[in-house]
């Protein structure tokens, strides 16, 4: 088990290195940050001096190695635009994105699994079919459009919920949370629905199809033949078997919830890392972009690692090799 974890962590580190390399090489094509940093009235000497100061005159592999060296120590450099350490800016912005992603993920998983099970068990019922048809909307509408529609309905027409921002936040240590104030909670509703809707419908459709497959298995028939209650058959026997493949996809989806928060954050002007990234691109703020991409890949890789470990706890067959080795 420990060997497995170590191997997986090593693989993850390799993935991160490659992601960093690819990301870093891309930055050379987004534009020249010097143009943005110096105004119209600049001299060639100013440009050269700043380029040397930022280390941009060095070849790109050297820049990458320097970046990595700093990143390992938690130092992602100084933002070109704000002139402050990138790690400080990220720490300030991360709680907003993480809270939004957590609420969206929770909604997507809990509602997605519940509706998936419901539509599988009542697969010929009217309600189940209606939910299935509606879910097509969730899968096919682009995120920004859902966001705009929600804003139009609940903010503009009904005036129930705020259309942008995080509302009031409370500071606990280095973390700012919107969970503790009414306006913070209200502000969370629309963005988290927008962000989670696609994942929710995806999880629901996946759970449904997996569950239908499992319900056809012999062990479900045998469970029925032993006179177990329908609840036990559906939830104890069928749902557990359904979850094994669902966990894989769900894990990946949670990663993309954080990554795709960019769009939702832009629509709702949510002060998270996604919005920070969009602004950074406009300004060619390379340290911020690099740090953001590394942060997202760390989360992706981390979630995948957790998913793989979850398999072990759910499916005893995977633990078999380990037991045999002892």
């Amino acid at each position: 088990m420990l060997a497995y974890v170590i191997r997986r962590v090593a693989q993850s580190a390799l993935v991160l290195l490659i992601v960093g390399l690819v990301a870093f090489s891309m930055f050379r094509f987004v534009g020249d940050p010097i143009d943005n940093m110096l105004g119209q009235e600049r001299t060639q000497a100013d440009i050269e001096r700043l380029r040397t100061q930022l280390g941009l005159d060095q070849p790109f592999p050297v820049q990458y190695v320097k970046f990595l060296g700093g990143a390992i120590q938690g130092n992602f450099g100084v933002s070109y635009r704000q002139g402050r350490p990138v790690s400080d800016i990220l720490m300030e912005r991360a709680p907003a994105t993480l809270e939004l992603a957590a609420v969206s993920g929770f909604l997507a998983i809990s509602i997605g699994i519940a509706l998936g099970v419901f539509t599988a068990i009542r697969r010929n019922g009217f309600t189940a079919n209606a939910i299935m048809s509606l879910s097509l909307i969730g899968v096919s509408l682009p995120t920004f459009l859902i966001g705009i529609l929600l804003i139009y309905l609940f903010s503009v027409e009904l005036g129930w919920l705020p259309s942008f921002g995080r509302g009031d936040t409370v500071r606990i240590g280095g973390w700012t949370t919107g969970f503790l104030t009414e306006s913070g909670l209200k502000a969370l509703i629309l963005p988290s629905i927008t962000l989670g809707l696609y994942q929710m419908t995806l999880i629901m459709r996946l759970v449904r199809s997996e569950m239908l497959e499992v319900l056809r298995q012999d062990y479900i028939r045998f469970a029925r033949a032993r006179g177990l209650r329908e609840r036990a058959v559906n939830f104890r026997h069928a749902l557990k078997n359904t979850l094994v493949p669902v966990i894989t996809v769900t894990g990946l989806q949670l990663g993309s919830i954080i990554a795709f928060a960019i769009i939702t954050e832009t629509v709702f002007q949510w002060p998270g890392v996604g919005l920070l990234f969009i602004n950074a691109i406009q300004f060619v703020d390379i340290p911020v972009m690099a740090a953001y991409l590394m942060l997202i890949s760390v989360m992706f890789v981390g979630i995948n690692l957790i998913v793989d470990l979850l398999y072990f706890s759910i499916d005893p067959r995977l633990r078999a090799d380990r037991t045999a080795a002892h």
Binding site: R226, H237, K240
Partner: protein, 326 residues
């Protein structure tokens, strides 16, 4: 005569299709007494399993019981649905499926699968249920039952898993076991053990057994009486010795002739010419007449007589025992 454990009277199972109604079980009647093992034989699609599923109420829609009655311990069960039927399954009627590799839930410990079944039917505490589970495993010949109770299905061999399945079917002490091809998926070397185990356990408890199989060897080994089915109809019913040695229906005769025997030497194995008709293309008259070597004009027009009195052959011209010996 005492009340039989299972009594099937004029049972007809129908499947409505676009091309008309199919009758996989057509006007079948038989009884199984306490401690008796009735072998039900026939080709694939003859309706053997369908009859078993009808008894335990697990016909998959659109198949349904159209006519006839089923009594278990004197209680009529064919019209039961939902919770009353569920209480019957496992408690009055146990079932053993064909493939032990797929009939156990891979994610639950076998002890949990046993105790949940016991708790569903008997009024005992969890600790008592666990004791019973250990006892049940012990009775089916699983060594070290007390430790093995915590094992998962994949940690057992195929033969051992079928023993677990039998323990599961018997753990709530049903008075009838429906064993649907219990040895077909097993290695030849363990088939005899499983049949012997089933036979012994049921003899000890006085459990009635419906042993569905297409293996004449299994029938000869275990059954007290035999019911032969062909194209949904019961064609011959009688004590195992009589049916195997002096079959009266030409189909049974053909089946016996096509069973390989060591004493028969290297002669080419006898075959019944043709194939069993599809249910949507049954011939007029006796369903077996196109393949019958003794066919007469009457057989082509008049449906074969229906067996009702518990023994005999459903044939217009049953074979004469003496003639058959020659």
């Amino acid at each position: 005569m005492t009340t039989p454990i299972l009594s099937i009277r004029n049972l007809t199972v129908e499947i409505p299709t676009r091309h008309g109604i199919l009758r996989p079980v057509d006007n079948v009647s038989y009884d199984i007494g306490k401690g008796e093992i009735l072998g039900v034989v026939g080709e694939s699609g003859a309706g053997k399993s369908m009859a078993g599923n009808a008894v335990i109420g697990l016909l998959s829609p659109p198949a349904h019981i159209a006519h006839g009655e089923i009594h278990v311990n004197g209680q009529r069960v064919d019209h039961l649905h939902g919770d009353p039927m569920r209480r019957l399954r496992g408690k009055e009627i146990g079932m053993v499926f064909q493939d032990p590799l797929t009939s156990l839930n891979p994610l639950l410990r076998i002890g949990d699968q046993l105790t949940e079944t016991i708790l569903a039917h008997l009024d005992v505490s969890r600790a008592q249920a666990e004791e019973r589970a250990i006892q049940a495993l012990d009775e089916v010949g699983i060594p070290g039952a007390r430790e093995r109770i915590n094992s998962y299905p994949h940690e057992f061999s195929g033969g051992m898993r079928q023993r677990v399945v039998i323990a599961l079917a018997l753990c709530a002490e049903p008075s009838l076991i429906i064993a649907d091809e219990p040895t077909t998926a097993l290695d030849v070397s363990v088939q005899a053990q499983i049949i012997a185990l089933l036979k012994d356990l049921c003899r000890e408890r006085g459990t009635a057994v419906m042993l569905i199989t297409h293996d004449m060897g299994v029938i000869a080994e275990a059954a007290d009486r035999v019911a032969v089915m062909y194209a949904g109809k019961l064609v011959e019913l009688g004590p195992v010795r009589d049916v195997l040695t002096t079959p009266r229906h030409p189909y049974t005769d053909g089946l016996m002739g096509s069973t390989p025997l060591a004493s028969r030497g290297k002669d080419r194995l006898h075959q019944i010419p043709g194939a069993m008709p599809r249910l949507d293309a049954l011939p007029t008259g006796c369903a077996f007449h196109p393949r019958c070597p003794f066919v007469q004009e009457k057989c082509r027009h008049d449906p074969a007589p229906v067996l009702t009195d518990g023994t005999g052959a459903a044939c217009w011209y049953p074979l004469d025992k003496k003639a058959e010996v020659a």
